[in-house]
C-alpha cells in the first residue's frame, strides 16, 4: 500500500506529527506546572461560593418585654420573564394580589430583563396568595425587613432603619453599631444545581448577631401620651407638640411623644419635618414654666423665701425696659409663692433682680439648660443660654420668666425632675439594658449634679402644689392625688428678632403624686388655636394622661 508514497512525504508527515506531539506535550506540561494554579483556581471558582451571612439586627423591647422593633425575613417576588409562558395572563393574575395595575406588571415582564423583582418584601399573606397562583417563572427570595408592630407608636424614640440597613434617628440611630452586629461568612462548594456539596469544602465564620435592647419606655404610658397629644393637637389645631413622661427617681424616660409623627416602616413617604423629635431635637422659649427655676435659685441662695413679699404694680422696669404681667394685671402685695400661683412676670423679675445675673446664669447652667442632657438618643439639641458676656441688663428680667432663653422639652423635664426628687439632676436615658451573647448589661442611673439642696426642692414642691391647688394651674388637679406644676405661655420669636403678635407656645410641666413623685410630665403645644388659652388644653392633656399613668402603675392616692 505504501509503494505509491514517496519517502520524503513520509518524513514530512512524520515531522508534522512529531512537532504536533511536541507542542501538545509542551502545552500539557505548561498546564501541569506553570498554569496549574490558575487552572485549579478556575475550577475551584466554578464549584466554590463565598457568601456573606448577615447578622440578625437586635430586637427592641419596651420595659415589660413587648416587641417594639424586630427584623424578619420577608419574601421578595422575582420573575424570569423567559420562563413565563403568557405575560398578559400572568400580569392579569398578579395585579389584584399585588395591588398593582396589570399594565405595570406586563411592562416589567416585557422589558427584556432576564431577571427582575416584581415586588420586594411582600407581607406574608400576599406572598402566600402569589404562591397559590403557581405561575411558572416566578420565585421568592428572602430579604430582611425591620418591622414595628405598633406602627407609628414611639416612632421618634425608635427611629428607623434605611434601605441600606443603617439605623437613623432615635435608638436605631444612637445604638446602630450595637443593634447591627457583625456579619459572618460561609464558603462552600456547590453542585450544578447550586446545592451545597455534602462532602465538599465548608468554611463558616458565624455572624455575631446584634444585641437586643430593653427600653425604659412603657408601652401603655407611651400609648396614653400619644393619645393625649393627638387629642390636644386636634383640639387646638396646633402645628406641633410633644409630651415627655419620666421617672424623677432615676431619669428613666417612660414615654416620649412628638407630633407630627411618622411610620418607621414607611419613612420614604414621611414629611421630613415629621422626623424631627420635638421633645429632644427642638428648642423653644419656655415662658412661665421657667419661673420655678428662677424662684428655686432665689430660695436656694436665700435671697427670698416663700413668704417674701413685693409690691406688684403690674410691671417691672429693668435695664430701662418695662416688662409687664400677662394681660397687664396688677396684684398688689404678693408673696413669692403667689408669684407662681399668679404667674406674675413682675414677680419673677423681682426675684431675679435680687438674685443678680451671675447667680441666675449659674443656676440655669446647673439645671442643665444650654447643654445637651446626654440622653442616649440621636440628634439631641442643646437649647440656647447665651454666655453671660452677651447678656443685656434686661435679659435678667426676661429670662426670669422664660423669654430670651431656648430650652428643649427634655431639659425642662429634667429640671422639674430635680425639683421633684430632692435636688438631683439625672442624665435621662431610654435604654434600660442591652442583651447579647455575653448576658444582660443594665444601664446604671447617672446623677449629674445637685443644682439645689433637698430643702429648696422640698419648698419648691410645696409652692408648685399650691400653684395647682389655688393658682393658675388649677386645671391640672387630680382627684385623690397631689399635683405640683406650672403652666407656661411663651411668644414665638420671628426671623427679624421680634416676637410674633398672635403665635404662642403653651406648655405645662408638673409631677405627681407631689408627696412622693413618681412621674414628671411636660406637655408642649406649638401655636394653639386658642392662643393664650392653650395652657388649658395642655393641663387637660396632663389630667387625662396622669389618670391613665397612675392607674397603670397602681399608685396609691395620697389624698382623700
Amino acid at each position: 500500500m505504501t509503494e505509491g508514497i514517496s519517502p520524503s512525504r513520509l518524513r514530512v508527515l512524520f515531522a508534522l506529527f512529531a512537532v504536533a506531539t511536541l507542542l501538545l506535550s509542551l502545552r500539557v506540561g505548561y498546564w501541569q506546572t506553570i498554569g496549574r494554579t490558575a487552572l485549579l483556581e478556575g475550577a475551584t471558582d466554578q464549584l466554590r461560593s463565598e457568601l456573606v451571612v448577615e447578622a440578625q439586627r437586635g430586637v427592641i423591647r419596651d420595659r415589660s418585654g413587648a416587641v417594639l422593633a424586630t427584623t424578619v425575613d420577608l419574601r421578595s417576588l422575582y420573575a424570569i420573564p423567559k420562563r413565563i409562558a403568557d405575560h398578559a395572563d400572568a400580569a392579569a393574575k398578579l395585579a389584584p394580589v399585588l395591588a398593582t395595575p396589570a399594565a405595570t406588571i406586563r411592562a416589567a415582564l416585557d422589558s427584556g430583563a432576564e431577571w427582575l423583582y416584581l415586588k420586594r418584601r411582600l407581607p406574608e399573606p400576599v406572598a402566600r396568595a402569589v404562591e397559590a397562583l403557581a405561575i411558572t417563572g416566578l420565585g421568592f427570595e428572602p430579604e430582611p425587613k425591620r418591622l414595628y408592630p405598633n406602627d407609628a407608636l414611639a416612632a421618634h424614640v425608635l427611629g428607623f432603619v434605611n434601605d441600606d440597613g443603617v439605623g437613623q434617628y432615635g435608638v436605631e440611630g444612637a445604638y446602630d453599631k450595637v443593634l447591627r452586629g457583625v456579619p459572618g461568612s460561609l464558603i462552600v462548594e456547590r453542585d450544578p444545581k447550586d446545592r451545597e456539596l455534602a462532602l465538599g469544602l465548608r468554611t463558616a465564620i458565624a455572624p455575631k448577631n446584634g444585641a437586643d435592647l430593653m427600653l425604659t419606655i412603657d408601652l401603655v404610658v407611651q400609648t396614653a401620651a400619644e393619645s393625649a397629644l393627638r387629642r390636644a393637637i386636634e383640639r387646638e389645631k396646633a402645628t406641633s407638640g410633644s409630651i415627655i413622661v419620666l421617672d424623677p427617681r432615676d431619669g428613666a424616660i417612660l414615654a416620649l411623644a412628638s407630633a407630627p409623627t411618622f411610620d418607621p416602616a414607611r419613612v420614604a413617604s414621611a414629611d421630613p419635618e415629621a422626623l424631627r423629635d420635638r421633645a429632644v431635637s427642638w428648642s423653644y422659649e419656655p415662658g412661665s414654666t421657667m419661673k420655678a427655676v428662677t424662684i428655686a435659685a432665689g430660695i436656694d441662695t436665700g435671697v427670698v423665701t416663700p413668704t417674701t413679699t413685693y409690691e406688684d404694680k403690674g410691671y417691672a422696669i429693668i435695664g430701662g425696659r418695662r416688662l409687664n404681667n400677662a394681660q397687664g394685671k396688677v396684684y398688689g402685695t404678693t408673696t413669692v409663692t403667689q408669684i407662681l400661683e399668679r404667674s406674675a412676670n413682675a414677680g419673677a423679675v423681682f426675684v431675679a433682680s435680687k438674685l443678680g445675673q451671675d447667680p441666675l446664669y449659674q443656676y440655669l447652667r446647673a439645671f442643665g439648660f444650654g447643654s445637651p442632657t446626654g440622653i442616649d438618643l440621636a440628634s439631641e439639641a442643646s437649647g440656647a443660654v447665651r454666655p453671660l458676656a452677651q447678656w443685656y441688663p434686661v435679659d435678667v428680667g426676661t429670662i426670669a420668666f422664660g423669654q430670651g432663653i431656648a430650652v428643649t422639652p427634655l431639659q425642662l423635664a429634667m429640671a422639674y425632675s430635680a425639683i421633684a426628687n430632692g435636688g438631683t439632676l439625672y442624665r435621662p436615658y431610654v435604654v434600660a439594658a442591652t442583651r447579647d451573647a455575653d448576658g444582660e448589661h443594665r444601664t446604671a442611673p447617672a446623677a449629674v449634679r445637685s443644682p439645689i439642696t433637698p430643702a429648696t426642692a422640698d419648698t419648691l414642691r410645696t409652692m408648685l402644689v399650691s400653684t395647682v391647688d389655688r393658682g393658675i394651674a388649677h386645671g391640672a388637679t387630680l382627684p385623690g392625688y397631689s399635683v405640683a406644676g406650672k403652666t407656661g405661655t411663651a411668644q414665638i420669636p420671628s426671623d427679624d428678632g421680634r416676637y410674633l403678635d398672635d403665635a404662642y407656645i403653651s406648655s405645662f410641666a408638673g409631677f405627681v403624686p407631689a408627696s412622693d413623685p413618681r412621674f414628671v410630665v411636660v406637655i408642649v403645644i406649638e401655636r394653639p388655636q386658642t392662643k393664650l388659652l392653650g395652657t388649658i388644653t395642655a393641663m387637660d392633656a396632663f389630667h387625662d394622661l396622669a389618670i391613665d399613668v397612675l392607674r397603670n402603675a397602681r399608685v396609691q392616692p395620697d389624698r382623700p
Binding site: 424586630t70 424578619v72 462532602l199 392607674r551
Partner: protein, 119 residues
Amino acid sequence: MRRPFEARSRRGHAVPRRRHAAGATWEVRTFVVVSAAICAVFLLVVLYLSQATAVATRGYETQRLESVRDELRRQNALLEVESARLDSPARIEAEARRLGLVRAAAVPVVQAEPIAARR
C-alpha cells in the same frame, strides 16, 4: 493424618487422584484467589460508594431540614410580630371602643392597712 486434596468415596474410603489434576488445581487456585480479590475490591468499592452516597444523601437531607428549620423560624418571628400587634394597647382600646365599652370613671382604691389590722 489425611493428605491434602485427598478425595474420598461416599463410604469414606480414599480415592486416588488422577495425574492431570495437579495442573488444574493450580488454575483453580489462581482463579479462586483472583476472583476473591476482585470480589473483595468490588465489595470495598461498593462499600465506599454506598457510604459516599449515604453521606451525600444525608447532606442533602440536612440541607432540606435546615431550610425547613429556617422557614419555621421565620414563621415564628412573623407570629411574634403578629402577637405584638394584637397586644398593642392602641389596638385593644380601639377594639374596646368598637365593642361599645367605656373607660371606668373611677377606680376605687382599698387601703391595705385597715384590712390587715382587722385580721
